[in-house]
């Protein structure tokens, strides 16, 4: 019961802040609503018993990525009202079509989810007894079952980092 109340409160908050992100007039306010949104997503993770993911969500998204957004928004002057941004090249119809496709997809997923609830995939190798808490379980899964995707992701980040440095300093 308590869990359900908490879930629906957090879900309502996430949706509410999500709507505010795209409706806020001031871009800095949008970014702040995005932070609040991420914090409530972290709260959802806590509710699911995934404290590690929750903390990482706050550190990486709220603490890292959105700070960069804030910098960009602050340094690029966006004090003009949104109307002033009217751009000839903007393809309103195309954007609308894409959003409708994505909306249809989300609705389809929701309908299928209700008709046929997903089964939890069992881990291929059973977790060892010493993997008692959340962090150890995540670590165990990352370095056994998901080793290849994990390493590929780390390579991707490394390449992105090198690329950023090369772009920033062309004379290197």
């Amino acid at each position: 019961m308590g869990e359900a109340i908490a879930f629906y409160t957090f879900a309502a908050m996430i949706l509410g802040f999500g709507v505010l992100v795209i409706t806020a007039r001031n871009t800095v306010h949008s970014v702040l609503f995005l932070v609040a949104n991420f914090l409530f997503v972290a709260a959802l993770y806590v509710l699911l018993g995934a404290q590690f993911l929750a903390v990482i969500q706050v550190i990486v998204y709220a603490g890292g990525i959105v700070v960069l957004y804030l910098f960009v928004v602050m340094l690029v002057n966006l004090k003009r009202p949104p109307e002033a941004h009217r751009d000839r090249r903007r393809k309103t119809g195309l954007g609308l079509a894409f959003s409708l496709v994505i909306l249809a997809e989300v609705v389809a997923i929701a309908v299928f989810g209700i008709v046929q609830p997903a089964q939890l995939a069992a881990p291929k190798a059973p977790l060892p007894p010493e993997a008692a808490n959340n962090i150890e379980q995540v670590g165990w899964m990352l370095y056994t079952q998901y080793l290849v995707p994990f390493e590929v992701a780390s390579m991707l980040l490394l390449v992105a980092m090198v690329g950023a440095i090369v772009l920033a300093r062309r004379e290197l």
């Binding site: 404290q51 590690f52 903390v55 603490g63 700070v67 808490n133």
Partner: protein, 341 residues
């Protein structure tokens, strides 16, 4: 019911009151220590040797006029000091002041909670505090605060990396992220991690000075260049919140250093039998003493060292501390594997 709601609430009230009173007297202590270093007396007028000075200061801050600049972004301007203060206060949720004690026939742990991701929780909470500083500077709609907040956030983000990397080597040494278990690991090993991880302690110390905007890294509020940095336009109680947050952060980083490197609540030499009379002093007093010793180091450094130049600060962070911290992790992991097999 009692264990779930009443007891934690009582503990929260105790910790918050304790922290706020400590902050008040930390400011007095700072003024006194500065004065003694410079062969002055410091505050002497209010109460004997100025012991009532903090109360006078608080009253002054409360009754001061609260000015909001005309062109400021009112909503964000009000929110910024709150965003700075709240994270530094809730960081105390995972700091262990002592082990379980028996109080009125009931086992009471002397910490609010023991998360199994305790150390990461502190990192994540600290990451939120940056927003307040950026927004405070931006919403003032004034040049000096904006420059101060840009400097400050760049500094915080740079040094946060180095500090978080030192945590990794401590976690490797302790085998856990829970603050309580890190202290217990130091008990089991019979040695403070300050001696196991001296490099990590050094990097943490430098990073902690930078993260709390203290001398010699107090560039965000360098008076000679930026008036007062990101809080130039703030006055009255809102300025007091920034001030409170800065000193609370000092206490947080000192308490974390005590927990990670100086054995937390453990008495000195916890495994030496003939020193067991030291155990007569309650554990939380040892914790407080160690934390205050570290806070004193903060004040001492402020009275001793001049301010860094901004480019030197960035060079130190990115080119020295972060590589050193990564090397320290590699060495720690290698030693751990060799000793383990």
């Amino acid at each position: 019911m009692i264990d779930l709601i009443v007891l934690p609430l009582i503990k929260i009230v105790f910790v918050l009151t304790g922290v706020l009173i400590t902050v008040m007297y930390l400011v007095l202590l700072e003024r006194k220590v500065q004065a003694w270093v410079q062969a002055r007396l410091g505050p002497m007028r209010v109460g004997p040797h100025g012991v009532l000075q903090p109360i006078a200061d608080v009253v002054k801050l409360f009754v001061k006029e609260d000015v909001t600049p005309v062109r400021a972004e009112k909503w964000v301007f009000t929110l910024a000091p709150i965003i700075v203060l709240v994270p530094s206060l809730i960081a105390f949720a995972v700091i262990p002041f002592g082990p379980e004690v028996n109080l009125f026939g009931r086992p009471v742990p002397l910490y609010i909670t023991d998360l199994n991701v305790g150390l990461l929780y502190i990192v994540s909470v600290a990451a939120i505090g940056v927003y307040g500083i950026i927004l405070g500077g931006w919403s003032s709609n004034s040049k000096y605060p904006l420059l101060g907040s840009l400097r400050s956030s760049a500094q915080l983000i740079s040094y946060e990396l180095a500090v978080t990397l030192t945590f990794v080597s401590v976690i490797l040494a302790a085998g856990s992220l829970s603050m309580v278990q890190i202290v217990e690991a130091q008990h089991a090993n019979g040695v403070w991690f300050a001696f196991v991880q001296p490099v990590a302690l050094f990097i943490y110390g430098v990073g902690a000075l930078a993260e709390t905007n203290r001398n010699p890294f107090d560039l965000p509020e360098a008076e000679s260049e930026l008036v007062a940095g990101f809080h130039t336009e703030y006055s009255g109680m809102r300025f007091a919140l920034f001030f409170l947050a800065e000193y609370t952060n000092m206490i947080v980083v000192s308490a974390v250093a005590t927990t990670l490197f100086f054995g937390g609540w453990l008495r000195p030499f916890p495994n030496v039998e003939w020193l067991s009379f030291l155990g007569l002093v309650p554990a939380w007093i040892w914790f407080t003493l160690k934390t205050f010793a570290l806070l004193y180091v903060f004040l001492w450094i402020r009275a001793t060292l001049p301010r860094y130049r901004y480019d030197q600060l960035m060079q130190l962070g990115w080119k020295w501390l972060i590589p050193l911290a990564i090397a320290n992790i590699v060495v720690t992991a290698a030693v751990k594997v060799i000793l383990g097999s």
